[in-house]
Amino acid sequence: MSIGAKSVSGTGLDLARVRADFPILQRKVHGQPLVYLDNAATSQKPRAVIEAISRYYEETNSNVHRGVHYLSEQATSDYEATRKTAQEFLNAADSKEIIFVRGTTEGINLVAQSYGRAHVGAGDEILITEMEHHSNIVPWQILCEERRATLRVVPINDAGELDLDRCSRLLNSKTRLVAITHVSNALGTINPLHRIVEMAHGWNVPVLVDGAQAVPHMRVDVQALGCDFYTFSGHKLYGPTGIGVLYGKSALLDKMPPYQGGGDMIMSVTLEKTVYNRLPYKFEAGTPDIAGVIGLGAALRYVNSLGIENVRAHEGAVLGYATSAVSAIPGLRVIGTAKEKASVLSFTLENVHPHDIGTILDQQGIAVRTGHHCSQPVMQHFGVEATARASFGLYNTKEEVDRLVGAIEKVREVFA
């Protein structure tokens, strides 16, 4: 079967061309053309990203922000160009509000350790939700334990949507921060951030958004959302691993103590006293992942060239097609049926453990994730140990969904 020959009409993406941009999609796995449906774990990389990284190492490799020589100026200029691209991508007010971090996890830890330690004390509360990834739970547990603060949790309903009434009732004068995911990695739910930010700001509580699963799929405008912090990873957005972005309102970032000490984050150092650098460098200690930042810039430009609205329309069509196709399979239960969803299809199959589903799909060249997706509280809510999760990216096609459905039928045959 040929994959991707047809584009999905009306979405403005030329899928055959898009797929040709990703070298890995040409390969076979277990003798079959790869169907990569594990994009929520990490996405594949287009040639533009791979080449940008190679070009840096081959032509401009040098350290940033400190050399007067040509290569350093070139590397610094490429590095800072990504900051500008990221600012525009999120519609941040100023590029100094863009801090490069290793990924979403580090972005959250930075805020927990820097903002959290400065503002959270005994008896205070942090509000998260039941659908958070472990990376948006554990940093807050660590902070709360250290500060003798309390972690409060907004519950979800059986569709996988937040209980907004409970959210409103959980906010109070002791709440110091709301930390919430934009899109759930295990369920695909898109949260109504506008309303949550409004509620939190009503109590003068800042909001941190885990955007790891949102930025690859939809336009994100941090000023329109009004959130105070927003963080995402490059590698789920067709960029390299090990690099991500933390956006923060400069009024907040300015007042926050540094997260790590070292080179680049200082203005002057004596053995008695150190004056910290201005934003964003105050939060970028040490030689950064320069190649990663340059690769991230290439990824952002690549997504911009396709148009994130086109990506959203295409992925929405694929998700809708996949949801109705798998729902017809006897014994299959879709976990996560929120009205607003993005690119994630989690499911279980009666009498078959997700791990076994994963192996049998893999034998047919189909990569999905199986397990608890670092969201054990979500699994507990739905009373399952694990799910199988197909997650879609901009290069996935309806033909690939057909192969997924056929492969699930094969699972049922083996376990019949």
Binding site: H353, H355, D356, G371, H372, M379
Partner: protein
């Protein structure tokens, strides 16, 4: 696709659907929890030791077909064996599922050889050995073990 049938042999599927010794042994004197944090498989193993001999072995819990069938067949295989024999059996079983091959010193694995297909699926070795690691923990008097 023939590889799949090597992994999911009829005997394995049958044990996963109807596991043997799936209960709490009434007179157990050793118990251990086995947990695979990556996939969430979790079993409790109950042993009734009489001196050096394993009088009874049983288990409860949840996991994939491979881990459940392995737990089921492991309890059958070690019942009536001495502690040393059971350990020897695990050693040989481990060689089988990791594809290290059979040596002259290996114990007779009997029907456990149905798990030989696991060696072609490195990601599933931990599923096949979870119950055995739990057995080892129980024999050593530990309360729990994880495979990661």
């Amino acid at each position: 696709m023939s590889d799949l049938r090597d992994l999911y042999q009829e005997v394995i599927l049958e044990h996963s659907k109807a596991p043997r010794n799936y209960r709490e042994s009434p007179a157990w004197n050793r118990k251990a929890e086995g947990f695979n944090p990556l996939c969430g498989d979790r079993f409790t193993l109950y042993l009734t030791l009489d001196g050096d001999s394993i009088r009874d072995a049983s288990f409860q819990g949840s996991g994939c077909a491979i881990s459940k069938a392995s737990a089921s067949m492991m309890t059958q295989s070690v019942k009536g064996k001495s502690v040393a024999e059971a350990r020897k059996l695990f050693e040989s079983f481990h060689r089988l599922v990791t594809g290290l091959g059979h040596t002259n010193g290996d114990a007779d694995l009997g029907k456990l050889t149905v798990f030989s297909g696991v060696s072609e699926f490195p990601a599933r070795v931990k599923c096949a050995t979870l119950a055995w690691h739990t057995l080892e923990a129980a024999l050593e008097g530990k309360q729990e073990t994880t495979t990661e």
